[in-house]
């Protein structure tokens, strides 16, 4: 019995000790208790307790404010260190919207690693601080942003015209104040969100004429019509999320939608990206990714060298500078669409979901940038990537000089069946107007009109037999033995043969395409002999028969 008493005594004492330790840990040692004990409000020390932001509409209960106290509802006055400090002024008050809606992470948690989602079993880690604007994408999917050169020009116009003298944008400018004190011009960081006076220019003009002196007369100068347009475009993109807007404009110049879908729009060659921002770092391989195992690193490395990060990827590497890769990463992280209750759906999203507007600006340049630039290049000069067939140079002047707009429209509309170029006139693709806009954009970047062509569409009458021999010895190296395409484009493609005129084919063979691998056969090259006009005609006849053989 003594043994049993000892068992009882020791077990009980041990249990008491352990429970005591657990009680001490729970009631005194929690990190948030230590942090809150340093907090001071106007009325003195703040009560140490679990705090949270609850927003039932968004389905949020974020305990982040247990440490970041001053971001909590009605706690703006709390002081006591960096962690406790209030949020910098943003459009959405974290005390109302919570934290995880924008930043990700685990709002229900009360310990740092868990809350920031840096634990093994939390698939939505917090966005890195420099990628914070990606969080806006949870709700604001449909910001009407143009591709990057337009945005750049607009931004430059705003700076060139010295608007920053009076107006603040994203924390810059607004240094000049009207004489006699008063406020500088309004902060325009969120001009598009809050709305602005569309007649601002007329009013500025009147004011600059009526004011006797001061910045109004010195700083403000009349603005030309094109500059006015640029300023308009600039104001449209001021939604208080400058990083995201820039990132989106980079995305819209990289042609990702040519292969990937976002919100049901785009090609289907690659995976759907609609919620790519929620990709779980635990579910991807970091084997070939340098740096820490965070999604931001994975995405950036994946843009630099897709095939080495994802084995077997057919995606061409993005021809971007490091800064732009970072922006593309930010945009991809912002693809985190969540379903929202009606009261919280933002206007831009309503426009896209209810009224069928694009989730981006829909001018020709932007549509080209978003859908075509990935393969054909932002400059339209085509791309070559190791291991992939060359992507045709569609803005090549030699090409544009020989084809009609109808040919271009038809090519975009129907694509090249069997090749990676899909037909774009379809649900989830482009509209007729957009295709026309793209075609006219091509003419703009190529800078070439179609040469007048008096001949009919079909005039070649030569026999295909001679052409076949020439084709095999000269052309098949790049275009494949049956013209099925290899390194060079497919020629036996039915859509091509149906829409291409004989003039286009003979002249292309004769003149070649400067700047591409296609030589002109009117004159001999070190590798090939020159072909006569008849030779070329017979090759064309052979090409026509390829289409027929199918």
């Amino acid at each position: 019995m003594k043994k049993n008493k000892y068992l009882l005594l020791l077990s009980s004492a041990g249990t008491l000790l352990l429970l005591g330790a657990a009680a001490v840990d729970e009631n005194f040692l929690k990190e948030w208790r230590r942090i809150q004990s340093q907090g001071q409000s106007d009325e003195g020390a703040i009560p140490v307790q679990l705090r949270q932001v609850v927003n039932e509409g968004l389905g949020v209960s974020d305990r982040c404010v247990s440490c970041h106290v001053a971001m909590g509802p009605g706690e703006q006055s709390v002081r006591g260190g960096e962690v406790l400090a209030p949020h910098k002024p943003v459009v959405h008050d974290p005390a109302e919207y919570g934290c995880t809606v924008c930043h990700g992470g685990q709002g229900l948690a009360t310990e740092k690693d868990d809350a920031h989602g840096r634990v093994h079993f939390w698939p939505e880690p917090m966005l890195q601080e420099s990628f914070s604007y990606a969080g806006c994408g949870t709700c604001h999917i449909a910001l009407g942003v143009p591709e990057k050169t337009q945005l750049q020009r607009a931004t430059l116009a705003f700076e060139r015209l010295d608007c920053l003298a009076c107006h603040r944008v994203d924390g810059r400018g607004g240094t000049v104040r009207p004489d006699g004190g008063g406020m500088e011009g309004p902060d325009l960081s969120g001009a598009s969100l809050s709305g602005y006076d569309r007649d601002w220019y007329a009013k500025h003009l009147i004011k600059s004429r009526t004011e006797p002196a001061g910045p109004w007369t010195k700083t403000f100068q009349p603005v030309s019509e094109p500059d006015l347009k640029l300023l308009g475009a600039y104001l449209e993109t001021r939604v208080a999320a400058p990083d995201l807007v820039q990132a989106k404009s980079v995305f819209l110049s990289t042609g990702c939608l040519g292969c990937h879908q976002v919100s049901g729009v785009g090609g289907d060659d690659g995976p759907d990206l609609s919620i790519a921002g929620f990709k779980d770092p635990g579910q991807v391989s970091f084997e070939h990714v340098p740096g820490s195992r965070v999604m931001e690193n994975w995405l950036a490395e994946h843009f630099r060298a897709p095939a080495s990060v994802v084995i077997g990827s057919q995606m061409p590497p993005a021809p971007l500078a490091e800064r732009e890769i970072r922006q593309l990463t930010l945009f991809t992280q912002s693809l985190r669409r969540k379903e929202l209750r009606d009261a919280f759906v933002p206007r831009d999203r309503v426009k896209a979901t209810k009224f069928g507007e694009r989730e981006f600006a829909s001018d020709g340049a932007t549509v080209y940038g978003a859908f075509c630039a990935g393969c054909h290049g932002m400059d339209g000069l085509g791309r070559r990537a190791p291991g992939l067939a060359a992507f045709p140079s569609v803005a090549n002047p030699d090409f544009l000089a020989l084809v009609s707009d109808a040919f271009l429209t038809e090519s975009v509309t129907r694509g090249r069946p069997g090749r990676r170029m899909p037909g774009w006139l379809r649900e989830g693709g482009l509209t007729k107007d957009e295709i026309d806009a793209v075609v006219s954009h091509l003419r703009t970047i190529g800078g070439t009109r179609q040469e007048p062509d008096p001949r009919p569409a079909r005039w070649v009458t030569a026999s295909p037999d001679a052409g076949e021999r020439i084709f095999e010895s000269v052309c098949s190296g790049c275009h494949g033995g049956q013209g099925q395409g290899a390194e060079g484009p497919s020629l036996a493609n039915p859509v091509l043969l149906e829409t291409a005129t004989d003039t286009y084919l003979t002249e292309t063979i004769g003149r070649g395409r400067r700047g591409t691998a296609m030589p002109g056969f009117h004159s001999p090259s070190p590798v090939y002999p020159a072909l006569t006009q008849d030779d070329i005609a017979s090759v064309v006849a052979h090409l026509r028969s390829l289409g027929g053989k199918k």
């Binding site: 019995m1 043994k3 049993n4 008493k5 068992l7 009882l8 077990s11 009980s12 041990g14 249990t15 352990l18 429970l19 330790a21 657990a22 729970e26 679990l50 305990r63 685990q106 229900l108 948690a109 009360t110 310990e111 868990d114 079993f121 939390w122 698939p123 779980d280 635990g282 579910q283 991807v284 391989s285 970091f286 084997e287």
Partner: protein
Amino acid sequence: MTPVDAGGPALREFVENLKAVPRRLKETAFRTGPPVTDRTRSTFVFGNVFLHLHSVRTHRWSLRWTTTMGLGIMTFAAFLIALVTGVMLMFYYKPFPDVAYQSMKDIHFVVPTGRLIRNIHRWSANVMVIGVILHMARAFYTAAYRRPREYNWLIGIGLLVTTLGLSFTGYLLPWDQLAYWAITIGANIAQSPREVTDALNITDYFDPGGFQKLLLLGSDQVGAEALIRFYMLHVMILPLVLAALMAVHFWRIRKDGGLVRPPDADERLTKKRAEETYPVFTEAPAKTYHLAAIVRGRTPNVGRGPENTVPSMPHLFYAELGVLMFTLLICVALSLVSDAPLKELANPNVPENPAKAPWYFLGLQEMVSFSAFMGGIAIPAIVLLGLALIPYLDRETKGTGEWFGGPGGWPLVRLSLLFGLAVPVLLEAFAIRFGWLREWFPDIPQLIVTFINPATVLTAIYALYSIWCIRRYESARAGALGLFTCFLCGFLVLTIIGTYFRGPNWEFFWSPADWPQH
């Protein structure tokens, strides 16, 4: 003159009674007074509803640590701990998909003491499973299942199954990836009779597998319906069944004459500690001390001289309370060291790979990897049936109450340990190295694979070994010793392989470090 004096005798009595309330309250609550004499100790036991399931005196043999190692009480203690902590968890748990997961997060992060209580609940559940298995092994090796305890052995098997059921149903409740996919597998094991009915082409007419799965999940996949069913089973039905079975189990211990002990237990004890024994019935040897004791003729207390019993209060209760606190200590200590797992939210589109059931089912899952029906249903059923039959096939008396008692004894158990461990290891090694029938004959009919696979072969070898034991020692007890030892070894080996050596796609890996990265 106070108002009371003026009020007459009735009022005076009323006031007296009022004054006496505390004293009378104590008297009526504790009728027997302090348990300082044998008489008051006895009344202490049978006057208390919670204690009177005990006999008032306990045999000293039963109190030896080596007799039971406290395993039964430890299992019961773990159940009590799980019961109390489980009730606490019910304050916050919400049985609905996704919401359930959030409530687990709440329990983990913001509920006062919630994390500790959840951890204790989880660890006490594990202690209970281990306890029930070890307790069964103890009862087996001391031959405690023999007459008149056969039926209680059966109740014990019922308790084993119910305990596993409780553990399994609790597994789904956190609604994380671990839970979701473990239960998906479990539900498909329930459906596995289809393996046979499909092979016989009779599933359209006779589909017990589909019926079982439908009954379990209330749907064709794990969802809200399954969760509410598992919740109800976990907090309501199974605990009630378990409590009822436990009541019968404990009561039968009493009715079957206390814990098992060898016939010569008294002599052994008396020889060793003669001075601690004292005669109980010296002045009235022909009298029993309790009416219930003459109901059965086996009561040892009639006409016997020296007796080796001690009052249950306090001897037995110190032991029981000691084991209870020891179990609590283990559970609390483990809870502070290791948090109960909670993976990411259940996602029906992303299967866990490997999806592993709770550890005590991993042996089963290992067998299931050969054939869902045989491994998941038939062999477990055979094992349970075999366990249940043991007391009815072993009618011998030699070695009752002795560790490894009976023909063969410890040498046989030792041999069986070696045999029981070697066979599954070799079989698994062979199957992992060389594959099995389907790898050799791709067109082989499913029925053959169902009935001839490492799991069934293992079962057959064990059965043959047991028959060999019976013939070698001319004793059913020897066969049982061999078979039970083999069963424990097989369970151990398969569980270890399933736990530590199986990775994605249930392939063999020497360590989880070798698992391929996605």
